[in-house]
């Protein structure tokens, strides 16, 4: 038995080395292409390879609003988010302010606290719809073209932060951001339960103590 041990150890050692090699530990990082390592790239973006920003099988988003429509160019447009000029055809557009039509968006923290103007993120005229293929706001490049200008190193995940967050208690939040809405509901009921229960308990105890002290004195 004693003579067997060193050989067993060697066998186990070789087996471990083989498994380690097979697991790819020594193979280096995931590589995006011949010259760029993907990981070094994912956070501090700004430039993406063409294959990374190609719309995958969804076609381009360019829409010509006039095509097949009667009347005013804007009639029947429910998907302005896909237009190259999302405000195309709106009367007296040049004389209006953004918050006249988008009051909720102007209440965003980026505006109220960060003191940002709409155009600092959404760009100059014509403002492309956020789903338009060439828009800097398109989710495929938003983190690099918009977020990372202030938030250095912003990645695609970071760009899913909702800048124009719906009010937590609203129906809009319930439909569009349910996790936020239910977090709010949970915290609201927790607050009501904890404060309600312990305030009533404290008041009850205090009143009862006053009564028994008064009785003890008389």
């Amino acid at each position: 038995m004693k003579g067997c041990r060193p050989r067993m150890g060697r066998v186990v050692g070789w087996a471990l080395l083989f498994l380690l090699e097979a697991s790819g530990v020594g193979a280096g990082d995931e590589v995006a292409n011949a010259t760029r390592r993907y990981r070094a790239y994912e956070l501090s973006s700004g430039f993406y390879e063409s294959h990374e920003v190609r719309p995958m099988g969804r076609g381009t988003y360019v829409v010509t609003p006039e095509a097949g429509r009667l009347g005013a160019p804007s009639a029947g447009l429910y998907h302005r988010g896909r237009l190259a000029d999302s405000h195309r055809g709106i009367l007296f557009y040049a004389n209006r302010r953004c918050e006249a039509c988008h009051p909720d968006n102007a209440a965003s923290r980026h505006v109220v606290r960060g003191n940002l103007a709409c155009r600092q993120c959404h760009g100059g005229e014509p403002i492309a719809g956020i789903a338009h293929y060439y828009s800097p706001m398109n989710p495929i490049r938003r983190h690099a073209y918009v977020c990372a200008r202030c938030h250095e190193g912003a990645g695609a995940s970071f760009a899913t932060y909702r800048v124009h967050e719906p009010p937590v208690a609203s129906v809009k939040a319930k439909q569009g951001f349910p996790s936020l809405y239910y977090t709010y509901q949970f915290m609201l009921w927790l607050l009501i339960a904890v404060l309600g229960f312990f305030s009533l308990h404290a008041l009850g105890m205090a009143c009862r103590e006053l009564v028994s002290k008064g009785r003890a004195r008389s």
Binding site: L43, A107, R109, V112, R113, H151, E152, G153, A154, G155, S157, F158, A159, T160, Y161, R162, E165, P167, V168, F177, S179, L180, T183, Y184, M187, L188, L190, L191, V194, L195, F198, S199, H201, A202, G204, M205, A206, C207, R208, E209, L210, K213
Partner: protein, 270 residues
């Protein structure tokens, strides 16, 4: 000279005092940032040294608070390892607490005697455990918000919306509970008024133990420790010091809470 029983060790009192100070700093700097778009919030932030400094303070004190909390948990685990988790001296909730609560409610309604409380009453246990859910939520969401880009590598970016809301809501719950309920039970309740000093001195007079914690008094008597309590001389200067500290905390808390409630009605938690 009065005979006293040891209720809190020096380390317990250190943890309470440091939690009290860091909590108030976090409350003031946090509410200043939360309501910086209002005149009150702006004045508070300016008074505390400007936005950048308030943010840095909030972060630094938050990290210190978290480390102190972890140190307390480690210490409590070691102490529990020696003493066991359950029993009359334990802070873990038991069925007896439910019974005590029921008895106290009957007493409040004028039926029957008050509960014979042990060393830790059920509301004191809740005071203690409430920190255990508040701290992790506030620490994790606070770190996520401060290091938002790094956090978005491990969580989806939209979780920052939720972290931001949770941080505010949980802080509001904690402040509401401490400034309303905890301060009321420690200061304004007739048996505590003007201030319950035990958390600062660590010693509770045998009379107070007999009156407020009769079950603990029974335990001490059964163990033969009742007569072993230290003889503590009165220390008027120390009493003045902790009374001032206590009332400074109450005043700060109520000042923050009242302004928060006014602004909450106007603009919520934005």
């Amino acid at each position: 000279m009065i005979r006293t029983q040891k209720r809190f060790t020096l380390l317990d009192r250190f943890f309470h005092l440091s939690l009290m100070i860091t909590f108030l700093i976090q409350g003031a700097t946090g509410l200043g940032q939360l309501y910086i778009t209002t005149p009150w919030g702006l004045a508070l932030v300016r008074g505390l040294g400007g936005y950048e400094r308030v943010l840095a303070t909030h972060y630094g004190v938050g990290v210190a608070m978290t480390l102190l909390f972890l140190a307390h948990v480690a210490h409590a685990l070691v102490r529990m390892g020696g003493r066991g988790w359950l029993g009359a001296d334990s802070l873990v909730f038991s069925l007896r607490d439910v019974r005590h609560f029921g008895q106290n409610m009957r007493w409040v309604a004028g039926k029957g005697p008050p509960a014979r409380l042990g060393r830790w009453s059920y509301w004191e246990k809740f005071d203690y455990w409430a920190v255990f859910w508040g701290m992790p939520i506030l620490a994790v969401t606070g770190l996520m918000l401060y290091h938002s880009v790094a956090a978005s590598r491990y969580f989806p970016g939209w979780s920052l919306n939720i972290a931001s809301f949770l941080h505010r809501a949980e802080a509001l719950l904690a402040m509401g509970y401490i400034f309303l309920v905890h301060f009321f039970m420690g200061h304004l309740r007739p048996s505590a008024f003007p201030l319950n000093p035990v958390i600062f001195t660590g010693d509770m007079s045998t009379e107070a133990v007999q009156e407020e914690k009769p079950a603990w008094a029974d335990d001490l008597k059964a163990q033969g420790l009742w007569e072993n309590g230290a003889l503590t001389p009165p220390a008027p200067l120390v009493k003045l010091a902790y009374t001032l500290v206590g009332y400074a905390a109450v005043a700060t808390g109520l000042y923050l809470l009242i302004n928060t409630l006014i602004l909450m009605g106007r603009m919520g938690l934005h």
